[in-house]
């Protein structure tokens, strides 16, 4: 299985920027991008989208509750229940994964998002060292883990 190319990873960085910029008009600052080793620097709310087809693996979006509450309030959403926070992080994961298909190809199949409250164990890894992107949006930290490998 071939690893993602750096240009492929770039599309996730651009998608993170675009998501927050469009939905909140506050652009995030990308603080680091590295190959993950051991426990990932995740947060309490996690959205996971799985890939199959030309690529296998998954993308995890991880944010603290405070960031999701702020994002919803900016969108004039007043229901800040745990269910809605999970829905929000799942929707972010869904959007980043869906946008990735433009670059990674239409043969990429994308699952509906699953959501997890509580620190994610990093899911079952496809690659020993997945790509990790950390960012800061509106003072809050966030993380995206891109664990994908090209089939064949």
């Amino acid at each position: 299985m071939a690893a993602l190319k750096e240009s492929d990873l770039r599309l996730f960085v651009d998608s993170v920027r675009r998501y927050f910029d469009v939905t909140s008009r506050i652009a995030p600052e990308i603080t680091s991008a590295f190959l993950g080793v051991g426990t990932l620097p995740g947060h309490d709310f996690n959205g996971i989208v799985r890939f199959s087809g030309r690529f296998i693996g998954h993308v995890i979006v991880s944010l603290p509750a405070a960031a999701l509450k702020e994002l919803l309030l900016i969108q004039r959403e007043t229901n800040l229940s745990q269910a809605n926070l999970l829905d929000a992080v799942g929707e972010i994961a869904n959007t980043l994964a869906g946008n990735a298909r433009k670059t990674l190809g239409k043969d990429l199949e994308i699952s509906v998002p699953t959501v997890v409250h509580g620190r994610s164990s990093g899911d079952t890894r496809t690659r020993a060292h997945p790509y990790v992107i950390t960012f800061r949006w509106n003072t809050y930290p966030g993380m995206v883990c891109v664990d994908l490998a090209e089939v064949g």
Partner: protein, 127 residues
């Protein structure tokens, strides 16, 4: 002129609520929200109950996805206009949705302004 009837279809509660808020803000004129559906099957049930003039349709959804729902919904109500709102923003997906009968495509993420613009275009065409 009678009020336009809008059905919102998306598996995300926050997206459904957001679209509903834009519609209920009055920015689009006389539009009545007739339902919020979480997948294609719920959309078809709602459409059998009341014919929508305009539908916002997500693509990636459990049970029945948007690409399956579009032709089924148009078979029920051929004059309904459908705006696809999806993160699957690659050209081939957009073309496939349009060939199935959708009338517009708004990629996610979207701003309230872009949603208003896209819906206004569809509503103007419908009236």
């Amino acid at each position: 002129m009678s009020s336009m009837k809008l059905l919102v279809v998306d598996d995300s509660n926050i997206v459904r609520s957001r679209i509903a808020r834009v519609v209920q803000s009055g920015a689009l004129g006389e539009v009545t929200l007739i339902g919020l559906a979480r997948n294609g099957e719920e959309a078809l049930r709602a459409a059998r109950h009341a014919a929508p003039d305009v539908v916002t349709m997500d693509l990636t959804m459990p049970e029945m996805d948007g690409l399956e729902c579009i032709p089924a919904l148009l078979a029920l109500h051929p004059k309904t206009r459908i705006l696809v709102i999806s993160a699957l923003d690659d050209k081939s997906t957009a073309i496939r949705a349009l060939r199935l009968g959708a009338h517009g495509f708004l990629p996610k993420p979207f701003s309230d302004d872009s949603l208003q613009l896209a819906l206004t275009g569809l509503l103007d065409h419908q009236s």
